[in-house]
Subunit: 489 residues, 2 copies
């Protein structure tokens, strides 16, 4: 049975949490007195459904059930996880916790999205302080992996479970060792924000110039390495120590104005809001969200292909999700050898599609390439085997593009072995959305010695498995379109 | 004739400048007393050659000539641009400028890479202060587009030319309106750096935890939107003003320790260096550079496909580089109609390759898809035509993978029209590295009404151009491999 999360406060952050849990198969119960909450969360969910599933190379679990409740008690009934994202006022949070703890399970997690308060402050006067912990997310919560988890001594028994749950929904829990105001990331955001306010107030730069100063330069560095790994390189061959010795003295230069906080006068607020309109006013907030999500998906998938940073988190979640074996990993996982094998089952990522949301031509081949890789794995030609010096290379490909498919659609590929003998492996892939055929891919692969880059026989254990699968498929009808040439009917 | 840039100081930053100019077709003359300078710059160049050309969908200009000089006078002889990247001490910079101005052209640009000094400070006591301007880059200079350009009133006549030159080598010059210490970006970097030192000193977080707090969260946001556009969204539908009103009060919270500067004791330096070793010590600095570059290339190419941020800068540079028409844009650009048309000419990007540096299967089809797009443009089926509701869709593809190719290699595609009549366009692409054939791609395309998504006749002006090209290609021999089916010999 699906686990249940209660979302207390359904704004931008609460809505993101709802999407994160729901798309990972949890039932989600929302409490938010805002009469617009249902519509707003619906819009967050639309964004999440268009972007999150395509980050993975596995299908996500079936979505849980979403419900809205008039009372906190109704929302938290049976919930294992309660996410509080109410306004950042300690008195409000304390009142909410009292009401939650009157109704919720005693061993449920009450996680606060607070970006500023320490857990010890949140726990003050609570009925069961040990239930309450900081789990601070980053917008958009359904895409960004970071969660700052901060507890106190009284949380010792539950903090391991918190970490596990967050990993289970594909996040990266950063387990903060000591509580401080604003945890870690927001201390940086605060420092940058203050400096930015001064730059605008003093007429040095506009909001747009500040954004360009970030995203054309160090923002790109920080998306993949952060501060210290970046600086480790900046020291050149001499590394981190050299860098500090070179850069350290600059710290006493009179460079920043951070000793002082600029007053947020109406005039300064106007200045910022007007500059922001001039910079981004051509997009609606919803447009900007979609641009942001598509940018993030593409960049995170880049990092995923390199198994780096946020991309490594996605790969880990792929492995977790395939524990239910939606696609087989070895010959033994296949239930019925006498049928085509399901070799791909996934959502179409945004970065596979054009400006109209249609999947690009080359990505059909990418999906078929993934299908081939999976079939190779099934017959034992996996990473471990390849490391011993043999692999299959594609010699020839024939694709028929039969129908279109959109970003976010769930596609799967079924693969039939037409020939598997000697150095050759002849495969026929068919791509579907549901029962609708999208494309076929026919491929001739040759086993290659990776040292000589020439054709060679596969190792006996691989040859034997391929032979078994080919024999089982020999009874299948020859697929429609097999053996066709371009333009020949 | 190629323009000449002199590089004064060839460390990490100077070497990056050398690569940026050299790969954009400038001759580069280096002065650096370090006996290792030649080797170090060679290594930066290796990285740049592997990463920069693949960011573009055009070939870059032929590399200029690189030379090393024992004197500043020798390096600056005939140079239009002189980039100073010597240590950050004002007395050293003043001495260098005196020597440079004794030898260089009076109208050459002397650009300083300083991250801290104001141009008015650099210009003090100079022979010709109007030559000296701040052009502050970001590491790696050969990949990141941002340059902070800061001048004073005396630079008025030359600052436009500075901007133009920097755009000419593919950069994004941010023209800073008022000089302040540390310009714009480094004020943020300073603020974050100080806060990070406190977090380490107080035992709140390690270098690794700080890096994760950045790259798993806001770093990904900042790579594509910066600070204000990100926050504009964070306010939800209410936008920027609402965000400031919500977030503003938090600024007076006692969240940061930035009022004070931590002393860089030996103990703190040890702590940072040791943590950094624990975090990244499994990679050499060179390894890290290659990971960083591959990550940046992939993320920047993602943004390029979306014409966003740093990616939009790449697209602009593509257009500039194709002014020399290495591939034709219209039928009229084709010199000899009776030959296959060059439809792609580019370097293989890192993100098109696997861990071994070989181009991935699906990227062959991507290059052939680009070749098809280009041929469509040549016959007038361009963005403007497509906006009127017609386009060609690929129905069928046959690829023969004949040889391997690596990241950074320059490839080109030649395209022959086999049939171009009625709704059909039958193309045969051949991909080469130099004269070596890598692959062939045979494609049947059908003209489609984008409204009904059904086959339709192309507009007369497109049909006529295609017919002319097809007629001119009719005399060419039928390409080897055309009409083949998978596995049929």
């Amino acid at each position: 049975m699906a686990q249940k999360a209660a979302i207390i406060g359904g704004g931008v952050i609460g809505g993101g949490w709802a999407a994160r849990f729901l798309l990972n198969g949890w039932d989600v119960a929302v409490f938010d007195p805002d009469p617009q909450a249902k519509r707003k969360i619906g819009e967050v969910l639309d964004n999440a459904r268009a972007s999150l599933p395509g980050l993975y190379d596995m299908p996500m679990p079936d979505e849980g059930t979403l419900s809205f409740h008039d009372t906190m008690a109704g929302a938290v009934d049976g919930a294992a996880w309660i996410q509080e994202s109410v306004p950042e006022r300690l008195d409000i949070k304390h009142t909410v916790y009292r009401e939650l703890q009157d109704a919720c399970d005693a061993d449920a997690v009450i996680a606060s999205s607070t970006s500023g308060f320490k857990p010890s402050e949140l726990q003050e006067n609570a009925t069961r302080p040990q239930q309450i912990v900081v789990c601070h997310p980053f917008n958009p919560v359904y895409l960004l992996p970071l969660i700052e988890v901060v507890g106190t001594d009284v949380n010792k028994d539950m903090i391991g479970g918190v970490e596990e749950t967050l990993r289970g929904v594909g996040m990266f829990p950063l387990m903060v060792k000591k509580e401080i105001d604003a945890h870690i990331a927001d201390r940086f955001l605060e420092a940058v924000w203050r400096e930015a306010l001064w730059l605008i107030k003093d007429g040095i730069a506009t909001t747009e110039e500040i954004d360009e100063a970030i995203r054309m330069g160090f923002g790109l560095r920080w998306a993949q390495m952060g501060l210290f790994e970046t600086y480790r390189i900046a020291g050149g061959e001499a590394g981190m120590r050299h860098f500090i010795e070179q850069f350290g003295p600059c710290l006493s230069w009179p460079w920043t104005k951070l000793m002082d906080v600029p007053e947020l006068t109406e005039e300064l607020i106007d200045q910022i809001a007007d500059q922001s309109d001039a910079q981004s006013g051509q997009y609606s907030i919803r447009d900007l969200e979609r641009h942001r999500d598509a940018n993030l998906v593409g960049m995170m998938r880049t990092l995923k292909a390199r198994d780096w940073g946020a991309g490594a988190i996605l790969n880990t979640h792929d492995k977790t999700m395939n524990q239910t074996r939606v696609v087989p990993e070895t010959l033994g996982d296949i239930v019925d050898l006498g049928k085509p094998v399901k070799t791909v089952d996934r959502a179409v990522p945004i970065d596979w599609t054009d400006y109209n949301g249609h999947m690009n031509e080359a990505r059909y081949l990418q999906a078929f390439g993934d299908a081939t890789d999976r079939l190779m794995g099934i017959i034992g030609c996996d990473a471990e085997y390849i490391a011993t010096g043999g692999s299959y290379f594609t010699a020839e490909t024939h694709i028929r593009h039969l129908d279109e498919v959109h970003a976010g659609a769930r596609i799967h590929v079924e693969t039939q072995v037409i020939l598997g003998a000697g150095k050759k492996m002849h495969l026929f892939h068919v791509m579907y959305e549901g029962t609708r055929i999208l494309a076929s891919g026919e491929h001739m692969l040759i086993h290659v010695d990776l040292e000589t880059r020439r054709a060679s026989d596969p190792a006996p254990q691989v040859a034997e498995k391929l032979k078994r699968l080919a024999a089982a498929h020999a009874g299948l009808p020859r697929p429609e379109g097999a053996g066709a040439a371009v333009g020949v009917r």
